[in-house]
Amino acid sequence: MKNRWTLYDPRLAWMLIAPVLLLLIFFLVLPIAVMAAYTFFTFVTAGVETSQLTSANWHEFLTDSYYHGFLLKTLRVGAITALLCGVLGYFPAYFIWATSFKHKWLLLLLLIVPFWISFTIRTFSWINILGEQGVINVALIKMGIISEPLPMLYTEGAVIMGLLHFLLPYMILNVYVSLESIDRTLIAAARSMGCTSAQAFREVTLPLSLPGLAAGLLLCFVLAAGSYVTPQLLGSGRDALFGNLIYDTIMSELNWPMGATLSIVLFVVLGFFAAIYTRYMGMSQIVKGLGG
């Protein structure tokens, strides 16, 4: 007869997690480790490097303000996007949570549908809104308000708008999940003790939903700062972000050691923000948000 100890033998667990462990080691841990080593390799010419160790890449990154500018711009765009997501995302999350609308699931489903639509398509569809022949310009010209199309596409604003469009569902779902876990009797209690609905919101609902908001902010910031496609499609050359810089360094200049250095920089910087977050909040909120 089997007892509990042999039933849940750790050796069997190791066999079960072997596939995922191999995948994570060979496709996540090892690549990042090798990339970290590559930052010390010597760049000879396009596509060629030697394993002679040098600190030239790091020196170049740390002294050249070209890279600093890119990094700052990327962090700025990421922060603006995350904050806008937070402000604009909180309202729908609260509305869905608090509404007495019978078909609430429909509102939630509509938030999940964008995840199913190709990200590339969602991004380029903004060209049909903001472009010279887009809805806004054509409508304004027809109405005679402007005579020349407004240059809205290929600007930083367009990039932020595209990122917002991509990230808002993440934010709304994160806040919603955390609102949903609030014990509603707490709010009823606050109201019965004489709080106005605004006070009850400020004192009870808002503080209790902050973990979801924080998780959403982190997720939006990291995903915006790491984006590649959105600036590529909706921005001009000047609006390129760090992801584009990495792609060009590797795919066009074929400067692998520098590309690896820039990737590690982005990894460390974004990891730093994630570490601050998990220090105070833990991982569980992010897990809840991702699981939807």
Binding site: K2, L7, Y8, P10, L12, A13, L16, I17, P19, L23, L24, F26, L28, V29, P31, V34, G89, F91, P92, Y94, F95, A98, L111, W116, I117, S118, T120, I121, R122, F124, S125, N128, E132, Q133, G134, V135, V138, H165, L168, P169, T196, A198, V222, G226, Y228, V229, L233, G243, I246, Y247, W256, S263, L266, F267, L270, M283, I286, V287, L290, G291
Partner: protein, 280 residues
């Protein structure tokens, strides 16, 4: 008078919330609607105004060999990714939920990471690794990469469901002489099916949509659907792209919706006659 005024304020705040919500939903769907509408435009240029209704761009699309090839490639990659990721994800969450082993906490954090690390970094990392060991980029590599990107989501979904399945069911089967494997197949897996289907669908769409990482990982000369769209956009914004976008939307929204409806009617059939369980 005072409470009345406060009530009035509350009503205005609620109206504002509703209004912003409406605006956000319009913001989410207006560009997609514009793309779908423009795909039927007769005009030569990919933009407004509409000059007439036409299906010519869909005809053009069906004759575009490069697009069809990219579609087939993406479809295969997504199917293989969905199947493999679901299998890996299910056994992983089974181990994470049922077993205790050293390093469990580390693993459950590590398994989420691919969803949090920007794709550009994952993309470059893998390329640097295979360059360091002098291997070519292959389709297998691309598929394994997609599995890595989808695994966090499948594990999270199946794990959440697995927690709710009590282990006594499996243990009862085991004590009645079922083998380890058959107790899993006969007891655990059927109870897990909703999460398995949801995970597989999500893995499919993640792979089918993946752009940034695929740009790095695809073998020379291979285009997936999103990279094909990107290279078409580099040339010009033709109405053909709008038609392509519409077809893609139909495929990627249609499959999960149909899957969801089928799942729901299946559970309803199975539940019939059983005592009502709490809703999901």
């Amino acid at each position: 008078m005072k409470p009345a005024r406060r009530k009035e304020e509350g009503r205005w705040a609620w109206r504002l919330t509703g209004f912003v919500t409406l605006c956000v939903y319009i913001f989410m769907f207006a560009p997609i609607a514009a793309t779908v509408i423009l795909s039927f435009n007769a005009s030569m240029f990919g933009g407004f105004p509409m000059t007439g209704f036409s299906l010519q761009w869909y005809g053009k699309l069906m004759a575009n060999e490069a697009v069809l090839a990219a579609f087939r490639t993406s479809l295969w990659i997504a199917l293989v990714t969905a199947a493999a990721t679901t299998a890996i994800g299910v056994v992983t969450s089974f181990a994470l939920v049922r077993f205790d082993f050293p390093g469990k906490q580390v693993l459950s954090t590590l398994v989420i990471l691919p969803a949090l690390v920007p794709e550009t970094i994952l993309g470059v990392g893998l390329l640097v690794l295979i360059k360091a060991v002098d291997q070519p980029r292959t389709l297998l590599l691309l598929v394994l990469g997609h599995i890595l990107l989808a695994v966090p989501y499948v594990v999270l979904i199946t794990q959440a469901r697995m927690v709710g399945i009590r282990r006594v069911y499996e243990e009862a089967a085991l004590s009645l002489g079922a083998s380890r494997f058959s107790s899993f197949r006969e007891i655990t897996l059927p109870l897990l099916i909703p999460a398995v289907v949801a995970g597989a669908l999500l893995a499919f769409t993640i792979s089918f949509d993946n752009t940034s990482a695929s740009l790095f990982w695809r073998p020379a000369g291979v285009e997936t659907m999103p990279t094909q769209i990107l290279s078409m956009l580099k040339i010009s914004i033709s109405p053909e792209i709008n038609a392509l976008g519409t077809v893609m939307i139909l495929v990627t929204v249609g499959i999960p919706l149909i899957g969801g409806v089928v799942m729901q009617s299946l559970t309803r059939l199975r539940r019939r006659g059983e005592p009502k369980e709490e809703a999901r």
